[in-house]
């Protein structure tokens, strides 16, 4: 799986660091380092008010930092 978090200025202000830190932890806890290619890009061109842009295998999502766990469960764990 290819997981890309937008780390551009706009998403950074909306909490991309918290999103990245939480995702990193979840990947580690679930030992998915080998199956998830985790990367960052400066601006996905999907800027949305208050939310951080994330791209998973070509599909776009926009998340609040507190939504990371449910996103991870719904989109990654359940589809492995």
């Amino acid at each position: 799986m290819k997981l890309v978090v937008c780390v551009g200025s706009s998403c950074h202000l909306r909490g991309s660091r918290q999103v990245v830190e939480r995702l990193r932890k979840l990947i580690e806890e679930n030992k998915l380092e080998d199956s998830i290619e985790f990367s960052g890009i400066f601006c996905l061109n999907r800027c949305q008010a208050d939310r951080v842009s994330v791209k998973l295998d070509g599909k776009y999502f926009s998340l609040l930092p507190e939504e990371v766990d449910s996103f991870f469960q719904d989109e990654i764990m359940s589809k492995k």
């Binding site: 890309v4 200025s9 950074h12 400066f42 061109n45």
Partner: protein, 475 residues
């Protein structure tokens, strides 16, 4: 709206703007010969002996705006016909000498170069004088003056500038570190750096609105001290309006460098910084035995550029900063894979105006990635503070970073001499070739003490307060 400190900057800017405008329009071939006349119309000279010489010099500026002399590997070039061949006689006694009795000048001279004529006026024997300047310092009448060329004075530590057979300034590329101090100091604007504007425009145009590949602007933290007529967010909007995909802070690269350089310092015990390319070049050319002390980290520019390309392999990175030495650095084999082009703030201003972008009327965009510590790299002392912080964050209680911040190449030289004699009072040399640090670089629009204050102000509003936090934002 004051954009430039001097008329020389303005003339360079005009040449660069006209070249860029024509390049965007694909009309450079047709227009190139008309540009000097466009900048100097009419028949009345305002700068030189005649308008023809003024235009001839502008033609040289146009050539430099297009990349300069391709056969000359140095990025700093002398425009020979613009050099006024300033007198370069060294220390001389002027009419102000009163023929006093104290003879402090003679007493202080270690080379016995000073004698007195029948009227008791001092005379300097040029065959003995070594231009140390002690006599000038002690004369109570300031009667001894130094007639050194401003360019040579600017290069007094590096000593790369001399005179050629026609008395024009000449730069020794083997010694030059491309700091650009001479560019600002020459009152006739006879020294310029080569511009890579055409390459930048081509990269942007060929990206076809960032659809073929994305073009990233990596901006130096000194940007917070420039474009004083507009807000920083408007400058970011302007950069995007030129056709860049986005703008990234080189200061985030500085955070990454701080983290790994702090580790390197603890490992090695003694280190010099590696982020100022002019300083690194100076060490290589003048202190080859100290090269191993230079940090193995890439510069902040190259570090963040590497990250961008590792995550977006077709990306093109254009660095925009205050520095002429970066124009050398980006062509080095270890940096070339990551940085595709380097521009200065002066060149960015020319690009804005070549597209008639009125940035003061633009919305404010965002520039937010780096921590306080990454941003203060732009001014002297910032790197030292950042490495001290980095060591603290690693939490090794047994190791204390003792930085020696060197403000300008003369201070760098003194610290390197001490290091070569194992007498350095400290364990980390912060080497910054320009006085004041990057905010005093050769490619800036506006100079002055306020630059440091502006950088500090911008640093304090950073979200991330530690280097660890800042680095952890990247997957």
């Amino acid at each position: 709206m004051r954009k430039f400190d001097t008329k020389i900057q303005y003339l360079q800017y005009r040449a660069m703007t006209e070249v860029s405008r024509a390049a965007w329009n694909n009309t450079l071939q047709e227009e190139i010969l008309d540009i000097p006349r466009r900048i100097v119309p009419g028949n009345i000279p305002t700068m030189r002996c005649c308008v023809y010489k003024e235009r001839a010099i502008l033609a040289e500026r146009v050539k430099l705006a297009m990349g300069g002399d391709k056969s000359n590997p140095n990025v700093i070039e002398v425009i020979k016909i613009a050099c006024d061949e300033c007198p370069a006689s060294g220390y001389e006694v002027t009419d102000s000498c009163r023929g006093c009795l104290a003879h402090r000048c003679q007493e202080v001279c270690k080379k016995d170069a000073i004698t007195f004529d029948s009227k008791q006026k001092a005379q300097i024997d040029k065959t003995k004088c070594i231009d140390c300047g002690l006599c000038a310092k002690v004369c109570p009448y300031n009667a001894i003056q130094n007639h050194t060329r401003p360019c040579e004075n600017a290069c007094s530590t590096v000593k790369a500038i001399s005179m050629d057979e026609s008395m024009a300034a000449d730069i020794d590329g083997d010694k030059c570190i491309a700091c650009g101090a001479c560019i600002y100091q020459c009152p006739f604007g006879a020294i310029m750096s080569k511009s890579y504007l055409l390459e930048a425009i081509d990269i942007i145009k060929s990206s076809q609105n960032n659809t073929k590949y994305r073009v990233y602007a990596i901006v130096a933290p000194a940007i917070a001290s420039q474009f004083k007529y507009a807000k920083l967010g408007q400058v970011i909007s302007g950069i995007k309006a030129l056709g860049f995909h986005t703008v990234v802070e080189a200061a985030l690269g500085a955070d990454m460098v701080s983290a790994s350089e702090a580790k390197e310092l603890i490992e090695k015990g003694i280190l010099t910084s590696s982020c100022c390319p002019a300083f690194v070049d100076y060490v290589h050319k003048n202190f080859p035995k100290l090269v191993d002390y230079v940090s193995h980290n890439l510069s902040p520019m190259a570090t963040i550029a590497k990250y961008i390309k590792e995550n977006d392999p077709t990306a093109k990175n254009i660095f925009i900063g205050p520095c002429t030495a970066k124009k050398v650095e980006f062509q080095k084999p270890e940096v070339a894979p990551y940085i595709d082009c380097v521009l200065t703030f002066e060149e960015l201003q020319a690009l804005f105006d070549s597209k008639d972008l009125d940035i003061v009327n633009m919305e404010e965009d965002l520039l937010d990635n780096a921590s306080y510590f990454g941003r203060i790299f732009a001014r002297s002392g910032g790197l030292s503070d950042a490495i001290v912080q980095g060591v603290k964050e690693i939490g090794d209680a047994d190791f204390v970073a003792e930085p020696v911040p060197c403000n300008g190449i003369a201070e760098c030289r003194r610290a390197l001499l001490m290091l070569s004699r194992n007498a350095l009072k400290g364990n980390l040399i912060e080497g910054m070739a320009c006085e004041g640090g990057c905010v005093g670089g050769a490619g800036i629009l506006t100079r002055g003490d306020k630059n440091k204050a502006d950088v500090d102000k911008h640093s304090k509003i950073a979200q991330e307060k530690t280097i660890t936090e800042s680095v952890s934002q990247l997957p």
